[in-house]
């Protein structure tokens, strides 16, 4: 075995969570960060609107309100101890980013600027509160750059463009990972005491998505194959405002700055669905509202889209009608220059991809597959837990979108993803280093690379009767149409049949590239295998949960059912079959009640 490396802690993935884990783990243990992309290509960089913390820089706010808003946003499926932990850490987490140099926008007093976002409220008045700390509409880009820069400053070891293929377990403990170096095609074994997965989500299983090509559920699929469970995989967030057809994200910050949704009849429709906060309701609520408008014939020109309107005259008109004010009590107004200054990337996306100028024209939008709420089950320290009793798996950690703590429950609040990856990335890194310091390396058995090699061989030796690109296209279509915003039993049964058919056909694909150097055809095929496994699991879990909650809306079971379903799903792959079990939701202060915005 020529390519064997030994690190006490190995972090897989170099987005926000992986970089934060790498930064903290490397302070206490010999650490490597392995990523299939150059770190600055990671999908954290696509996050736009902000990161939440109750700094109260414009008006009163407190972590307790942030906690309650997150619990309510989660439709009571979030674990309240973990949510409280995150919101209490939020202020220090955001200040730490500022201390690392992150260029937040500023208030006139020079403090971090904040904007309203969906579901962020003053719990006493019910009015929107400015909680999202922002750097224009590229907050994720700034977080990713800042954390990567700090990793360079602190000399963190990176293995860029290494795709992790397998997780090595010895005697029930973590022993490392197997990865392929993209530039050479060589397999490498990373012998480790502790491994942190920070591999992101799986939005690419859907046809219309805001997610990067890289979002293929690799971490989840690798651990699933090694017998570990995944949690709440039926819960996936559809963001209300993606660019029509392309799915490119248009931040909720547009509505935070006063943008409104308009249907094909020219009406502002959100007051019908969320009388109190209107266009700033939770994402699941707004996405369903848009879909309902479209299904009832009020899409634009009978098509599958509505308008998002941030033209200053529209913003000012509706802000006056809503009685919206500035922090000093004066009426809220906005100019075209201010829209451009606050939302430069959004304006650019619309001009480039749509030929639409949002200062003078309305933006055509539709809901887009956006965020994986479910994932690798962890506790609030990032330790991976593997059963209904929350038993920790020795040496294994997960953080960021690939993990399910669960702080997002059935629906994530906007800006909580960036907060999640900073807070839990840090704790996963700290815990991994602490564990590594207290443990010895396992003996590494021979043949660690055999399983990964065999997966590659299968892809290379298939008959070629099937085309991977076609299978991928069919998968994305059936997942978006049939396991999307609205779901029902019979439709999902046929979707599951289709996924199983695609999995069979996938066995007949043939990778034509026989080379070793940047064999992206082989890697894409391997990622497609991950997406098919994840799609099957998502569909099975969605069929299994016979209620509607947060992002999971069953037309055949339209009500939330706390008597039977106030519990997390755990799902395993067991001899080719999916096995489902449950664990309780942690409820501390907030008893479930009806969710109204």
């Amino acid at each position: 075995m020529a390519n064997v490396h030994q690190f006490e802690v190995v972090v897989v993935g170099a987005g926000g969570a992986g970089l934060m884990a790498g930064l903290y783990a490397s302070r206490g243990a010999k650490t490597a960060v392995i990523s299939k992309l150059y770190p600055t290509r990671s999908h954290t960089g696509a996050a736009q609107g902000g990161i939440s913390a109750a700094l109260g820089n414009y008006e009163e706010d407190k972590p307790e309100w942030h906690t309650y808003d997150t619990v309510k946003g989660s439709d009571y499926l979030g674990d309240q101890d973990a949510i409280e932990f995150m919101t209490n850490e939020a202020i220090d987490a955001v200040l730490e980013l500022e201390h690392m140099g992150l260029p937040f926008d500023r208030t006139p007093q020079g403090k971090i600027s904040q904007r309203p976002f969906g579901g962020h409220t003053n719990n006493e008045t019910g009015k929107p509160v400015r909680r999202a700390c922002h750097a224009a509409d590229r907050t994720g880009h700034m977080i990713l750059q800042t954390l990567y820069q700090q990793c360079l400053k602190n000399k963190v070891t990176f293995f860029d463009e290494f795709q992790v293929l397998d997780f090595i377990i010895v005697n029930g403990k973590t022993a490392g990972v197997v990865a392929v170096e993209l530039a050479t095609g060589e397999l490498h074994t990373f012998h480790a005491k502790a491994v942190v997965f920070a591999t992101g989500g799986h939005g690419r299983i859907f046809e219309v998505t805001s997610n990067a090509y890289a979002y293929t559920g690799d971490g989840a699929a690798v651990l699933l194959r090694r017998g570990l469970p995944l949690e709440d995989m039926e819960f996936f967030q559809f963001h209300p405002t993606g660019i029509y057809k392309l799915g490119i994200l248009i931040t909720e910050g547009v509505r935070g700055e006063g943008g409104i949704l308009i249907n094909g009849a020219g009406e502002r429709f959100m007051p019908k669905y969320a009388p109190s906060v209107k266009d700033l309701a939770s994402r699941d609520v707004v996405s369903r509202a848009i879909y309902t408008e479209i299904r009832e014939g009020r899409g634009v020109n009978g098509k599958n889209y509505v308008y998002l309107d941030v033209r200053p005259e529209a913003v000012n008109k509706y802000a006056a009608m809503d009685g919206r004010t500035n922090p000093d009590g004066s009426p809220y107004t906005i100019t075209g220059e201010q829209v451009l200054a606050k939302l430069p990337d959004i304006i650019d996306f619309c001009r480039v991809y749509l030929g639409v100028d949002p200062i003078t024209q309305m933006m055509p939008i539709q809901p887009t597959a956006h965020y994986t709420m479910g994932g690798i089950p962890t506790n609030k320290y990032g330790e991976v837990v593997i059963d209904g009793n929350n038993t920790a798996f020795p040496g294994l950690y997960a953080a960021g979108e690939c993990a399910c703590v669960s702080v997002h429950g059935a629906n994530r609040l906007g800006t909580n993803s960036l907060l999640d990856l900073v807070v839990f990335g840090k704790h996963a890194g700290l815990k991994a280093a602490e564990y590594a310091n207290q443990s010895d390396y396992t003996n590494l058995p021979g043949g660690t690379e055999a399983a990964a090699r065999s997966q590659f061989d299968t892809l290379k030796n298939g008959s070629g009767k099937e085309n991977a690109f076609t299978i991928s296209t069919e998968m994305k279509k059936v997942m978006f149409e049939d396991v999307g915003i609205y779901r029902s039993g019979s439709v999902m049964e046929s979707a599951l049949d289709k996924i199983m058919e695609l999995k069979e056909r996938f066995k007949e694909i043939h990778v034509t590239d026989t080379g070793k150097i940047f064999n992206t055809e082989l890697l894409n095929a391997w990622e497609l295998g991950n997406m098919l496994d994840v799609s099957e699991l998502v569909t099975v879990c969605a069929l299994n949960r016979t209620e509607s909650r947060g992002g999971h809306s069953r037309e055949d079971y339209p009500q939330r059912d706390d008597d039977n379903w106030l519990k997390h799903t755990l799902a395993w792959k067991d001899n080719g079959k999916i096995k489902v079990d449950y664990k309780p939701v942690v409820i501390t202060k907030y008893q479930p009640k009806a969710r109204v915005y």
Binding site: L37, R41, S42, R106, D348, N467, T520, E521
Partner: protein, 235 residues
Amino acid sequence: MEVTLKIFRYNPEVDQKFHYETYTIEADETERILDLLEYVKGYHDGTLSFRRSCAHGVCGSDAMRINGKNMLACKALVRDVGDTITVEPLLGLKVEKDLIVDMEPFFDNYKKVLPYFINDSPLPEDGRERLQSPEERARFDDTTKCILCAACTTSCPSYWGSDQYLGPAALVAAHRFIFDSRDEAAAERMHIVSETDGLARCHTIYNCTMACPRDIQITKAIGELKMASITGKLD
């Protein structure tokens, strides 16, 4: 519409030298060049290799030459470039395979300018943020937009002449920190960019500014660094 794609191909495991392959496909004028490359890879030749991730111009993976100009394949639409499209790898970096170039020299130059926030003074006593006025923040806003795609550096004739030249992207990174009122290492960075392979090799050709997919006014930023280097003052 029918589109003709002429793509630079080179596989070091097979080819003695590069060649071009031409593919004729159906495409919509609103499609991205990246969509076309994906289609060719999916249905014509699986071995075609290129980097991509976000597909909307924020991750910096897919910078390449499209009809001779450096662009992101995900931000160039058919309607912008026409129906006869030549796609080639970036110039000035070694081609590893097809449209994939060796990015290591590019990142090595980036790392030379201390591209990270430096402030060793004590934090504010209340533990809160270091204050910075909106005007101070605006001073370096433009250069915070960089996504390290290398479109600027690989469009620069000075960089083609010598990869020891830091190049526009590294200078943009230096600018982002030098003009940040909270940072304390401006003098050290000014020293680095003022050496022979720094500012002196910029001949104000503007290729970098025209190539930037984030619309950063790179030549202006470099000009501000030059002015600071000459006057010894940041403003």
